[in-house]
Amino acid sequence: MFSVDFYDIESHLTDDEKLIRDSVAGFVDREVLPGIQKSFESGEFPFQLIKRMGQEGFLGASVDTHGGTRISPVAYGLMMQELERGDSGLRSFVSVQSSLVIYPIHQFGTNEQKDRWLPGLISGDKVGCFALTEPDYGSDPSGMKAKAVKDGDAYVLNGSKMWITSADIADYFLTWAYVDGIVRAFVVEKGSPGMTVQPIKHKFSMRASDTGEIHFIDCRVPAENMLPGVDGLSTALGCLSHARYGIAWGVLGAAVACYQEAVEHSKSRIMFQKPIGAFQLVQEKLADMLTDLTCAQLLCLQLGRMMAKDEVHYTRISMAKRNNVRVALDIARKARDILGASGISVEYSTIRHMLNLESVYTYEGTDSIHTLILGKKITGLDAIH
């Protein structure tokens, strides 16, 4: 059951979408929420959940082979929503593993490559990461410096990648680099000579997620590790569309968690001899939160139904990613405010979600970049190039 469902979205879900949502919700309640505050405070990803998520089918939800069970786009979105109700870091892990590693290998890899890498990634025995961003190239990945040069039966890879989710725990690094002026993707295996990985510390956001940087110095990658179906940067952006769709849903989970905490607090916290929820200013905040949340839910539902019919241009996904992250962040900040001083304590989930959402606002295309994508769609004029 949708925990916040003002417009009866429940009635638009199929039986299996509801079962999937409830199953992930049960997993989050049982296995994520009890320990997540500790993971966030200690800055550690809850590793023990990876295999469990593999068993439940979360990691293989975008493909139908090699042990995966593909689910409908709406079911996929509901999974992301529930996971992010737990923590954005956990949802990020699944977004990367499923949309940015398993999905591209499945779409653009050979049969041998799929047989080699997919089973472990889908079962959760292996971890993957998606290495696109570089220290000097974030919003503009086309400027990337990473380069691979063919040498016999291998490519020699040089370059650095930064802010890579799961880098420090990854077995397979889906790495993007120029080969003769065209962007290609390689699966670099952990421990390849010439590759070093370092965790990025001192984060105040996504603390329960692993983020790292990777350096390649004359790293030899066997030629058969290049995904032959990848032809230029647009392929990477195609994978990102898939992940961004999941983010648009995911942040609703974080928003619901904050909203519920705020509602509960507003009814129980007494100030000036009244519950604070009785004051008009607090009610206005709650009314705005619920309205924005409901609009964002409906946006996702329709986007998901269009995805199922293959009717989705990436600009539609940009709209949902941009809008829903804004909405979620705004709800988190309002909830933080309503909680008063308690709102800065991680004993409540709100501040954790609020801090996490700052990352979500930036990654997978910053808010501004999605604004420009929509601006170009509307006017036909490119504001960047």
């Binding site: 299996d16 079962l19 089918g57 069970t69």
Partner: protein, 262 residues
């Protein structure tokens, strides 16, 4: 082994119940597979994991919506399901429900019947024992541990009793009602959920069961619910303000004179 698991759908205990026209208004409330029935389904699946030649059939008597409970059990891993469906079944009492279930289960055939200890909505805890009587088989309630002899013909059952546990041995077929502690029910995996879509839910109507509408013999529920009441709201607490020294005096006075507890 042929295992039949009796399940029903209940309103999620976290939901806030509202009464409308003397009945529970479940329209917008979350409904789930009865938690005690989850123990029963889980136990059946664990038996099948040890004894692969096992078939697990779910059975439920109740309105259209109970299909969701059957789907949930199939998604956990049961093999097939039977739904006893007719508007006339909706208001039957526990005894009649048991009689109808017994009729259907006899035609299915069974070695073991598992039920939840009780349904968390009406808390009757009658279906299991009554069903065992109609089927004329032994029954053990509130089971927390279950083991079988090597030839799977006898069951050793641990059940909860006041201040301890009791161990009982019985030949099969037997009916057991499952108690918390028996196992930790699994969440349905995506594979299970998608596979459940292809599993069969057979609907059995009243006629097929030989349910006697004409004389009303079968539908004569001897027990009739005549009313429902929500628990009365807790009284508002009293705040004692002022400095602690005054508040303590007021508290003692109130405990002695008003509440009369000291």
């Amino acid at each position: 082994m042929r295992i039949v698991v009796c399940v029903k759908q209940v309103i999620d205990t976290a939901a806030r119940i509202v009464l409308k026209d003397g009945a529970v208004d479940g329209t917008n409330l979350a409904k789930v597979l009865n938690p005690y029935d989850e123990f029963a389904v889980e136990e059946a699946i664990r038996i099948r994991e040890r004894l692969p030649d096992t078939e697990i059939t779910l059975i439920s008597l109740g309105p259209e919506g109970f299909r969701d409970a059957l789907r949930a059990g199939l998604a956990m891993g049961a093999d097939k399901a039977v739904h006893l469906l007719n508007p006339a079944f909706d208001d039957v009492d526990s005894l009649t429900a048991s009689r109808l279930l017994a009729k259907a289960i006899t035609t299915l055939g069974f070695d073991l019947i598992l039920c939840g200890r009780q349904a968390v909505d009406d808390d009757m805890a009658q279906i299991g024992p009554a069903l065992a009587v109609y089927l004329d088989i032994p029954c053990v309630t509130a089971v927390t541990q279950l083991e079988f002899s090597d030839d799977w013909n006898r069951a050793t059952v641990t059940r909860q009793i006041e201040g301890g546990s009791e161990i009982i041995e019985s030949p099969l077929p037997i009916l057991l009602t499952c108690q918390k502690g028996l196992n930790q029910p699994r969440l349905p995996s995506f594979k299970g959920i998608m596979a459940a879509k292809k599993k069969q839910i057979e609907t059995i109507t009243a006629e097929k069961l030989g349910f006697d509408f004409i004389t009303g013999n079968d539908s004569t529920s001897t027990v009739i619910a005549t009313g429902l009441k929500l628990p009365s709201l807790r009284d508002k607490g009293v705040m004692l303000d002022g400095p602690a020294s005054d508040a303590v005096v007021k508290l003692v006075k109130s405990l002695r004179d008003t509440e009369k507890v000291v």
